[in-house]
Symmetry: D3
Amino acid sequence: MNDRLTHLDAAGRARVVDVSAKPVTAREARAEGYVRCSPAVLDLIAEGGLPKGDALAVARVAGLQAAKRTPDLVPLAHPVAVHAVEVDIVPVSTPDLVGVHITAAVRTADRTGIEMEALTCVVVAGLTFVDMVKAVDKRTVLDGVRVTAKSGGRSGDWSVDDV
Amino acid sequence: MNDRLTHLDAAGRARVVDVSAKPVTAREARAEGYVRCSPAVLDLIAEGGLPKGDALAVARVAGLQAAKRTPDLVPLAHPVAVHAVEVDIVPVSTPDLVGVHITAAVRTADRTGIEMEALTCVVVAGLTFVDMVKAVDKRTVLDGVRVTAKSGGRSGDWSVDDV
Amino acid sequence: MNDRLTHLDAAGRARVVDVSAKPVTAREARAEGYVRCSPAVLDLIAEGGLPKGDALAVARVAGLQAAKRTPDLVPLAHPVAVHAVEVDIVPVSTPDLVGVHITAAVRTADRTGIEMEALTCVVVAGLTFVDMVKAVDKRTVLDGVRVTAKSGGRSGDWSVDDV
Amino acid sequence: MNDRLTHLDAAGRARVVDVSAKPVTAREARAEGYVRCSPAVLDLIAEGGLPKGDALAVARVAGLQAAKRTPDLVPLAHPVAVHAVEVDIVPVSTPDLVGVHITAAVRTADRTGIEMEALTCVVVAGLTFVDMVKAVDKRTVLDGVRVTAKSGGRSGDWSVDDV
Amino acid sequence: MNDRLTHLDAAGRARVVDVSAKPVTAREARAEGYVRCSPAVLDLIAEGGLPKGDALAVARVAGLQAAKRTPDLVPLAHPVAVHAVEVDIVPVSTPDLVGVHITAAVRTADRTGIEMEALTCVVVAGLTFVDMVKAVDKRTVLDGVRVTAKSGGRSGDWSVDDV
Amino acid sequence: MNDRLTHLDAAGRARVVDVSAKPVTAREARAEGYVRCSPAVLDLIAEGGLPKGDALAVARVAGLQAAKRTPDLVPLAHPVAVHAVEVDIVPVSTPDLVGVHITAAVRTADRTGIEMEALTCVVVAGLTFVDMVKAVDKRTVLDGVRVTAKSGGRSGDWSVDDV
């Protein structure tokens, strides 16, 4: 772990950190998040009369596209050659969560990591889901957005479950 | 509250809902969210040697810009004339939260609401903060992203605290 | 009908034509187009084992988003407040056409027409369909992209079927 | 030829297909299309008093730029390092076609093909031409947009003329 | 004239200033700038064998498009309904300037001024010109970029020539 | 030095020049520019009551982001893998200049140079500064924008100070 904020130079000015000398290696990052919503929303998604396919499909497409837009959104993120994006959105109804669980996996062969791409994918899929259900439920909450695993690169493999 | 997903037509196909006949009215939306991080991150932000101004300023600027990009990110969101955006990011260290609290307020005089703009502002400010501290803390979590209040428009004023 | 190319000034230089003095009126434009493809593609879309929902849903979402990006793509097009977008993609298998028929309708209350938004929606939905099936059929053709009707604005209602 | 839609996973969900393990090779794609228009439009382009240079130049520039925007428009397309784009727009007046013939060639050294970039270039050049002449001719039609040749990559060289 | 930086709130945080209560009025802004280049560049542009039309046309198109992208580039600028853009680039060879003189005029009917759109148009037209001639002249300089006049809005008409 | 405009083909048509056969090498470009403003602006930036951090930070962030957007703005510029961006904005008060001095350095390991990225960074940082102070000073001028040095690539190292 670093002991300083690498995106700022010695004088505290923001910068895009130099990665030009890092090798091109295969890298993967995984992220997840949740949108909490009312049971009524899940019912509407699940019931036959409702276009479940499209409802979740729009959010998935938004997530895929957003992964590619990451450096446009996050000022200090590098442009990365996004080589694969998968995103899934699964309705969940348990004592802990009524809502959807969003997971994303992003892969590249490039000079820097792609955790931000995975997070951006999750977050924009989540925002899109919120947008689509907000006429039915104003009280949705996007929660628990985090990187769950990464591999490749100098710092080696890492999982949120590592102790 | 609506009992159907308005972004889908009768056959379940996604669409951008027609708002052309709605009047132009003053509207405001507020949203909030949190990034949980390690105490070490807060120390680095707080301590004299570190560029506190820039660290939070970059995330704020990213949030302001993202509010204007909302219809590019959220497929079914309307282009809205964003007339004001304010975003704030405050370090918090309490028993419940070690991290930053992000709040956004967005205003417009247009035909449809701007909750999505407020949420997008919060979320991208949060992602940018995560990006800037990830070399120090890989385990940040973006949490509690929700609309807190809206005013203007046909449906009247609303706050998350309303019973 | 005009007898000159309005997007060029007297000296032949491209410009974005001044519409600031035109009134805000309700306007609609409709457009259509086709993608010709092999029967095998239609079979894959239709058969139970294949994700028909997503295949067409992705193209529809791409079309909706592209309608909003029109002024970014077409240099002399005005930014327009896109207030409604509908797009549909229907598999067709007749002696004249094996492929999909794409239709779009776009509405606004603004100072200038939105034919280009309707066309852009059709075209990008078509490109996205081509992208999704190109591993199966390299010989797809995008055909017959045209405005089919417009209403509102100074020039009055018009349909491609008018004599 | 593949017998499945590669942009969808086994469960039918859209994804950006993984190309990170494919080698970087030189690749080229060519595409073409037509805009049918009235003879009056061709006369205006051709006659001395009219700014022919700019009229076609704007459409060409739009095409060049659009080639670079492909992954922003086509949701499942990969970001590709576009290394060369050429586009031409030639007025044609024959028994078969009164209008313009648009051709594009795009080259890269990257991990995946660039047919979509060539098609996007043609299509946006065509849309821009339609936009510039629509005050004179409302009945333009964009036709025959297809890939004509590709080279490089695992699947080898291919031309639309191959039997 | 204001005596404070309006884009910052009382605590010094950047914000997009609220203009939602300002009336929609017709507004215009004009800007100019120069690119100094070698006489050899002007000769190449002027001589018959060279594509003068395209050389300057590309820069003009880039300027027109950039005017519409202003709020994407300038973080605190409002989205504005750009209703007209004109840009011109004129070769100049005098004792004071060997190069091109770029002028832009932008008009809108909206709630806030469009000086930034006029400046962005000039600047990106200039950058594009620099890009196109940099293989011939590495020492170009973009100079004298300023607003020359504005009209409309609460603050009334203004010209750089006013004393 | 070249004796022709490489961005135009033999017939004078604009194109994105083919760089696919050029090797990937480490490259750097530096650029600079100035914004002239009133002493009152510098006082506001300098004085304790004013949020100096944010004022310059917003302009820096805008510059960093713009460097990544260069191929979107400059039609014939290649997409480049921007691997590092640094930008600084320093208030200056001398007999020659009252204003700010902007410098940028951009690095990549790619197939073509990044002078345009460095210039775009300077120019958009400058525009953003102009935007932030325009309520206080309408007469700002962006001046002296030029490449100051480049290294890497076939043409070797170069500095504006070379004779």
